[in-house]
Amino acid sequence: MSTENDRAELIDVRPEGPKPDTTADAAATPDKHQPYEALGLKADEYAKIREILGRRPTSGELAMYSVMWSEHCSYKSSKVYLRQFGQKVSPAMKKDLMVGMGENAGVVDVGGGWAVTFKVESHNHPSYIEPFQGAATGVGGIVRDIISMGARPVAVMDQLRFGDIDAPDTRRVVDGVVQGISFYANCLGLPNIGGETYFDAVYQGNPLVNALAVGVLRHEDLHLANAKGVGNKVVLFGARTGGDGIGGASILASDTFSSGGPTKRPSVQVGDPFAEKVLIECCLELFRDELVEGIQDLGAAGISCATSELASNGDGGMFIELDDVLLRDPSLTAEEILMSESQERMMAVVSPDKLDAFLAVTAKWDVETSVLGEVTDTGRLVINWHGEEIVNVDPRTVAVDGPVYERPVAYPSWIDALQADTAATLARPTDPEEVRAQFLQLLGSPNLADKSWVTNQYDTYVLGNTALSFPDDGGMVRVDEESGLGFAIATDANGRWCQLDPKQGARLALAEAYRNVAVTGAVPAAVTDCLNFGSPEDPEVMWQFSQAVEGLSDACLELEIPVTGGNVSFYNQTGSAPIHPTPVVGVLGVIQDVAKRVPSGWQDDGDNIYLLGTTSLELDGSAWAGVVHDHLGGRPPAVDLAGEKQLGGLLAAGADQSLLAAAHDLSDGGLAQALAESVMRFGVGARVWLGELLERDGLDLATTLFSESTGRVIVSVPREDDVRFRGLCEGRGYPVARIGVTDASSRSLEIQDVFTVSLDELRSTHRGTLPARFGATIPQ
């Protein structure tokens, strides 16, 4: 279950006026007109509800079905594809998986009795309407998923896509989103350990704000959210229920933007990170003292979702007295209470003999609590309001057995022409001066420029366990202070490549995230994803989606790392123009001792610099083609997953034997960008020669510098470890070439016979871009 609700649309969900519409009324007035369309339900879906119930739904039931059967909650368009993640698994992939897909978040055994849970989720549409609150509540929602597994949240990440950096509205969105994430996560005391920031006009009216949270737990602390044990109490605790976000989940995620209409309730939600911080500590204490059977977070579809999901996952029945919900606004109707998406709420199932102890803990934390009802064995979810029955449904029909669609799929009419338009024929510079100019143009371009304008607003230090964060390739956190056991996470998605070929693009996203984890010294272990696409009702978008899922699931099988959970966000489009398919892929890796971590930049003088992997002419969809030629066409680079695995093994061994002083993967901007970033990381310069490479790979200078071939990493190796490192490479048969040596005193990047750029010029070019648009910040 996720928390996105997607549109600014405001609706009045009081179809029946203040008097509740009871199940008796529903039986008595079978033909009464119901506004199912305004709630986002299609005629056949409404008919299906009537068939399930054997009568018309009450307005409360209609509210519940409409939110729970929305695209966002039911995954009705994506379900048939997402199954592949569960099907394409080998025994090796299941070995360390304690909880797989389908729960609030997947859980991975990382050894030593420890487990890690992580998940990425979208909050795209709300973040366009009200960037600060939208992004803030996005963080809040994903963190609650992590808590509900019994884990302590330990880090967050954010994956952001904005419109053109120079478009008039971009600053509003960037400012609000970054401050919202900063405010909420900093206030929760969670270090931000990495993310992505991209600008592209395709995201203009539809920015992507994805948030990832990670939690840590001992094996014995694992909890699943379900309502087992007849007679157990159902308890709502946390913030009071108010009129925010009503209708969000379904209306908002179901249809395209329509402007205006009379407004009754605002659909934005206001986050209160302080309340959530207290809720985290309170939940952890409840788990620790074994006072709960299970805890479910309230996100999209609020109480409708929590009650129906808890009941479905348990003994099948639940009775709720809705009058006992503590309200912020007493004028709310029953339907509004059922749909409200007020933040910072949780629902627990508590055994009656533990209720007093439970209430003592919530009182200690000043968390308001009310007992709503109990678990039954009737197989029905029954909800009363003012003494009358307003809901009586089989909870599985609400939460589990929603509609499933096989939407029409069509091969995009435009894609052959796009793929035929290769970047290989674009003019490539040969003159060293021109190469230098293009190198700097790329370095300062919005997507390759320094992101510290963003990341300086995020706390990385809190909790004292952050071993790596920006600008390194992956974030790394220590889990066990005794042994140094830790995890690393990186996320990636290249929308341009996915536009050219969504299947290959998804494979590439996985390969890059995998490599970004491997360069830190960690061993990749599991995957989460957030699939951001246009409208599923557009057959060409549906084709892109099907291709991406197929590509990602196949690639996970090849790399033997399971998808443990994720999120789908559809309807990311403005009018009929969808965004580039943007499947954000996050890879989690494990490292036995974070002391052996490898940073992305050069640290010491006189280390040898090696390039692992080979380069081919792969400029299609590259940053070079986009920035220098404003070109997008052709086919994305090839990806050799067996090779990536081999490379990952080599890096893990190199890190474990402490042979690597630095390792940085090559991605956007190719070798040139990676070299520049390695210099800038700690301010240690280098001399680099490319002659041997040009000859070996048979390429020209510009291609060698700017091509985005995969499977490549530059590493620096202390002289004294040189022989052992070369031996390691030979033993593993991975292509390697020595391309330079670090030179601390030079304070510059010298590419012999091509150009020299001083550290100062590199930094000023790289750092100036975002502050020039969004306001100066403190120099770093």
Binding site: N186, C187, G189, P273, K277, Q457, Y461, G464, A467, Q603
Partner: protein, 231 residues
């Protein structure tokens, strides 16, 4: 030495402060904001975070907490008290040190490794430093701009109550580049940067020697412990 670390609702760096006390050789004691009990500790740390969400004014609501009565009494009786970031804000709100904090001049939350100059190396929390020594301590705050009226500034400057000053960059617009302040007696010290984040090799700020190896913050905690032992 038993050093109390008070946890308020919304405290975030309380565990880090406890770890720092341990690394310095002391015994951390967790204190709860709602109690009236200092559990016999010999020094107190008010840790960083966003107590009560920093709503109203940073540190304001926490400064009204039950335990603050005891903290104020203990401070006035000479017990060493260190307020870090949010704790600094609480000390100011509780009037244990002069001045107040407002929103950063540039309006944003900022995190950076900050160079500080030790201006007063005689307080309970700074006696392990040399006067004029430059140290690097992580800074992270949104409401870190230290302000006071001209008279107060003149007084604390004149009486050596400015404990730390920002060097190179003033990250929040604080008056006179003031990063940390003590009371007249020198047992109560507040500062915006976070010394507890520069106490463990591998998790501190970068130094010219190696990444994340900065441990300049450890001296705050050893200062108070060693002075207590030498008494």
């Amino acid at each position: 030495m038993r050093v109390g670390v008070v946890t308020f609702p919304g405290s975030l760096d309380d565990r880090d402060a406890q770890r720092a006390v341990r690394l310095a050789g002391g015994t951390p004691v967790a204190l709860w904001h709602g109690d009236h009990d200092l559990q016999g500790v010999e020094a107190i740390i008010l840790p960083g975070g966003f107590s009560y969400g920093d709503y109203l004014r940073a540190g304001a609501i926490a400064s009204l907490s039950p335990i603050m009565t005891e903290v104020v009494d203990a401070a006035n009786a000479g017990m060493p008290v260190l307020g870090i970031c949010n704790g600094f804000q609480m000390l100011a709100e509780a009037r244990l040190i002069p001045g107040a904090h407002t929103r950063n001049a540039h309006q944003q939350f900022i995190r950076r490794d900050q160079v500080l100059r030790v201006e007063n190396a005689s307080t309970d929390w700074t006696n392990g430093f040399a006067e004029g020594q430059e140290i690097t301590i992580p800074l992270k705050n949104a409401d870190g701009r230290f302000v006071a009226d001209a008279e107060t500034i003149a007084r604390i400057e004149g009486e050596g109550q400015v404990a730390f000053r920002y060097v190179g960059v003033n990250p929040n617009g604080s008056m006179d580049d003031i990063a940390g302040v003590s009371n007249a007696r020198g047992n109560v010290v507040g500062l915006m940067p976070h010394p507890e984040h520069a106490t463990e090799p591998g998790f501190g700020p970068d130094t010219p020697d190696a990444m994340s190896s900065g441990v300049d913050g450890l001296t705050f905690f050893t200062s108070v412990i060693e002075r207590a032992l030498s008494k």
